[in-house]
Structures are given as C-alpha cells and as structure tokens.
Amino acid sequence: MFSADVCISREDEAYIFGEVMVTVKGQSSQYLLRHAALQTQKVIMEAAISTLVTQFKTYAGKDGSSSTLSKDEFQHLVASQLPNYVKNASDPAVIDQLMGSLDENNDGELTFSEFWQLIGKLASKQGGFSQ
C-alpha cells in the first residue's frame, strides 16, 4: 500500500494525501476530482487532530489518571508512536529531559496541553520553522 496525492492544477491546489501527482485534463473529470479533493480536504485535518487526541488518550489511559500521561506512559507513547521523530526514546535520560521540558507545573504528569508542546516542537522541526 502506498499513499497517493491528487493535485489539481488550478488556482487552488487541492491535495488528498501523500506524494503522487495526477494531472487530468478534461473539464468534467477535473471538476469531479477537484470536488472530491475538496471534500476530502475537510476531513484530513480533522482526522489528523483526532489521531493525536486518540493516541494521547490511549497511552494516558493505561494507568493512574486517564487524562494525563505519567512518565512511564509518556515513554511508551514516544517509543511506539514517535520512533522516527524522537531518537533514543529507550534512554531514560532522554525521556527525563523531554518530560521535564514539557511538565510546566512539575507534577510528574503531562496534561494534553503540556503534551501538545512536544507536538508543536516536532511539527516545527518537520516543517523547518524556527521556533
């Protein structure tokens, strides 16, 4: 299985997923594809946000409070879900340091908001944006 991008070449580019470019000439097919692409565009961000929320909850729910991540839960999440973006997640010092930078009130648990700082950092790095 591979991911495919459908990019309609008009003044507004409408992307569906991934990396493939399909250029289709001919009015009706162009319209249909663009319509489908725009519809899909609506759900893409919703799906992405939903994934981030669901994964947080899945790992947060493992023990203790189900709305916050303990250090253990955080380590599991990072090791399983962010292996390409965070290296050495099995190194406790790395987890300690990361958690420390996120845990604003120092209560040893990460709320969704505190955890979101990590998502922000990783996204900025991905996009090549300076923070």
């Binding site: 299985m1 591979f2 991911s3 495919a4 580019e13 992307y15 991934g18 990396e19 493939v20 470019m21 399909v22 250029t23 289709v24 000439k25 001919g26 097919s29 725009l38 565009q41 609506k42 759900v43 893409i44 961000m45 919703e46 799906a47 992405a48 946000i49 939903s50 994934t51 981030l52 929320v53 669901t54 994964q55 947080f56 909850k57 189900s66 709305s67 399983s80 879900q81 962010l82 292996p83 390409n84 973006y85 969704f112 908001s113 979101w116 998502i119 922000g120 990783l122 996204a123 900025s124 991905q126 996009g127 944006f129 923070q131």
Partner: protein, 112 residues
Amino acid sequence: MSLSVLNSHFCFVLVSLSYTDMESAIKTLVTTFVKSSRGKENLDSKSFQKLVEKNLSGVMEDAGNSSAVREMQRGLDENSDGKVSFEEYLTLIGYLANSMSQRKTESNPDSS
C-alpha cells in the same frame, strides 16, 4: 483523428512506509500550513481564512464565518504583526485538539 481518452500521467513515488499514525498526523499539520502559505513563513489574513474554511470546518463551528475567523486571528496574533506564524497556527490546532479531547472524555466517562 486520434482518440485522446485521458491525457494524464501518473508518477508514483514510493514514500517511506514506516511512519506511525501520529507521525503522519504531525506531518499533516505541517503540510496543511505549508500549502496555504505557499512557501512563506506566515499566513496573511486571506490565506488564514482560506485555510480555516477549507480544512477546519469539521472541527470548528464558525470556520466559514469570516468575521469570527478574523476575531480568532486577532486572538492568536501574539506579536501583533497581522499574520499567522506556524507557531500561532499550532496554538490554534492545539486549542481545537484540546477541545476535542475534552468532548471525547465527556461522552466516554471514566469508570474508576
């Protein structure tokens, strides 16, 4: 007379298949912004309106309401430069994600 059925070209690019759901989701946050900003560091008001309207109508009630979006932009604009930076955009998404997270908790109460 030649029959041209579809003048199309397919160019398949095999991408890495080893990204997790979460990593792909993070990538989506990035690409959505980058596509709307068309390579610039920031979104101007018009691009921001467009981004919200096209991409966030599933997670936000007034995504199509331009004055509501303008208000929201003002609220996000930490450095008051009239533009939305990637960081300011992420703040918005974080807020939406947090709201979604709380909605999900309300509909699935903890039984502990």
